[in-house]
């Protein structure tokens, strides 16, 4: 019996290792490539670890500016849209959790139902609308789009957590003479900090990773986000480009992976359990 369960454990490890290898090797390969001099990339030798590691490609990116600028643009849009989305969603999520009316069903219906529609249907009229307001080729315009993009999910995530805060705490505060907004921002919001943290990460990562809206809305090279800039980079063939592209992609992956690491905790715990049960 002991031997039997050991065998199963060994098989489990083997299976998990295979999965880990498959899921991670493309990224490892790219990281390796980003540190190889161009001659080594094209030498035909298959090796993940560079023979003569160099930072040339990273230097190239910072000299070329365009990738660097696009990263700044992405940070700007990501941070601005996250802050706005959270500030707007906080009172809304409170209202959803504390008074349950038909709006709860309508909003949940929208969160789920809107998944069916391909973004192209939203994109076309949105493009026309933003163009008429001079908000294409504008970081402000893109920020607004990302706010709206993240809002329904953030709203739904937050209301689940407000639900878990006992009402008695608020009642005590309003007896002491606090107004509704004071209750929300002074009492509820601090208790919500972990959930707000999760929503911040979610909103920022989805803005940082987004491609389609940015591709359509941003045409000015100085205003592109990092994803659009990278996609443009892949269009330019040529051996000299492979290394810098790898380096730029590694840099652009770092924020997503780090933030996602934090986010994962919430995903695998309460958040998902709640989502599945509902």
């Amino acid at each position: 019996m002991k031997l039997h369960s050991r065998l199963i454990d060994a098989a489990t490890h083997a299976g998990l290792l295979l999965f880990a290898l498959f899921l991670v090797f493309p990224l490892i390969w790219m990281i390796g490539t980003s540190f190889k001099p161009t001659t080594e990339i094209y030498s035909g030798v298959v090796s993940v670890i560079p023979e003569a590691p160099s930072l040339d490609h990273y230097r190239t990116i910072f000299q070329e500016q365009s990738i660097f600028t696009s990263m700044l643009n992405s940070f700007y849009v990501g941070i601005a849209s996250t802050v706005i989305a959270i500030l707007i969603a906080l009172p809304g999520s409170y209202a959803l959790a504390r008074y349950s009316t038909r709006w709860n069903k309508i909003i949940l219906g929208w969160v789920l139902g809107s998944q069916i529609f391909p973004v192209i249907l939203v994109m076309i009229p949105l493009y026309i609308l933003l163009r008429s307001m001079m908000l294409t080729d504008s970081l402000l315009g893109l920020t607004l789009v990302y706010v709206v993009w993240a809002l329904p999910f953030v709203l739904w995530m937050l209301q689940g957590y407000v639900h878990s805060i006992p009402v008695e705490i608020e009642e005590a505060a309003s007896i002491d003479g606090a107004s509704r907004m004071q209750v929300i921002f002074r009492i509820v919001a601090p208790l919500l900090l972990p959930a707000v943290g999760a929503s911040v990460l979610f909103a920022f990562v989805s803005a940082w990773n987004e491609f389609f809206f940015a591709l359509v809305l941003m045409k000015d090279p100085g205003l592109m986000t990092v994803q659009v800039e990278l996609a443009r980079f892949t269009g330019m063939e040529g051996q000299a480009r492979t290394g810098p592209l790898a380096a730029a992609s590694v840099l652009a992956t770092v924020p997503s992976v780090i933030l996602f690491g934090f986010l994962q905790k919430w995903f695998s715990s309460g958040l998902l359990a709640g989502a599945v049960k509902n």
Binding site: G92, L96, Q115, I124, A252, F267
Partner: protein, 294 residues
Amino acid sequence: MNEHARAARSRSQLVLLLPALIPVFLLSVVPLLRGVYLGFTDYTLGDPIGFNGIANYIRMAEDVFFWKSFQVGFVWTLIVTVGQVLLGLCLALLLSRKVRFNSWYSAIMLVPWAMPPIIRGIVWRQVYDPDAGILNGVLISAGIIDQQINWLSSFEYVIPAVIVAGIWGEIPKAAVFLLAGLQSIPKDLYEAVRVDGADRWREFRHITLPMLSPVLAAVVSLSFMWNFNTFGIVWVLTQGGPGGLTRLPMLAAYEEAFRYGYVGYAAAIGNVMVLVISVVLFGYLRVQLKESRV
């Protein structure tokens, strides 16, 4: 609670919700409805909008490119969805055994999900690169092929190549959802059948699978929708090429609208996508519900 108090509650809820509802309504709900409407017009960017009924759909029926695009869209969606759910289930089952280093494994498996779709595409471009890619490198040094294969521009290999990259990127999402589902199955169910001497396969067949079926149905449905709407990763890998072989419906719609300016026609493609997804999902969920009731 009386009628009056209920109306007051609804009103004060609405006040708090308005800052969120107004932007979503203006920049999401209204454009969506307008987008559906544009699918019944002859609109091209800059020109006045003219209602033209079902003319777009008649044109579509005769449009070879449309049919090709939906064909590859189906192949892509079906294989990627099935692949990601099966492999994701395997991974979730392995992780649910909680062997040593479990948290390391579960952190590693999330890597593709954490990567932006564009970079998922770039990573695989570098794997498939004819001169510098690891795939050709390994196959040539192992003597399996003697000439470089240009995976992403070969008519033979491009679809499998793109699908492998697609499945790779979607496994983690499926695994995370399914793992949560597995963990919510009460442990005492297993203990009960173990007393009866059931083997592992029976356990899986008679407890795990039925208990998991609601989560499984949700994962399959969502994956199907997301995969049918894929854009970024394939855009970076092939831009729809070679010869339109990997031009998924979203790529077709994007090109019609923003490369050729046939906005009305692009919206019509979007409408057909909604229709296709709804029909498939409806059919699938009906079968699922029937099964779970038996």
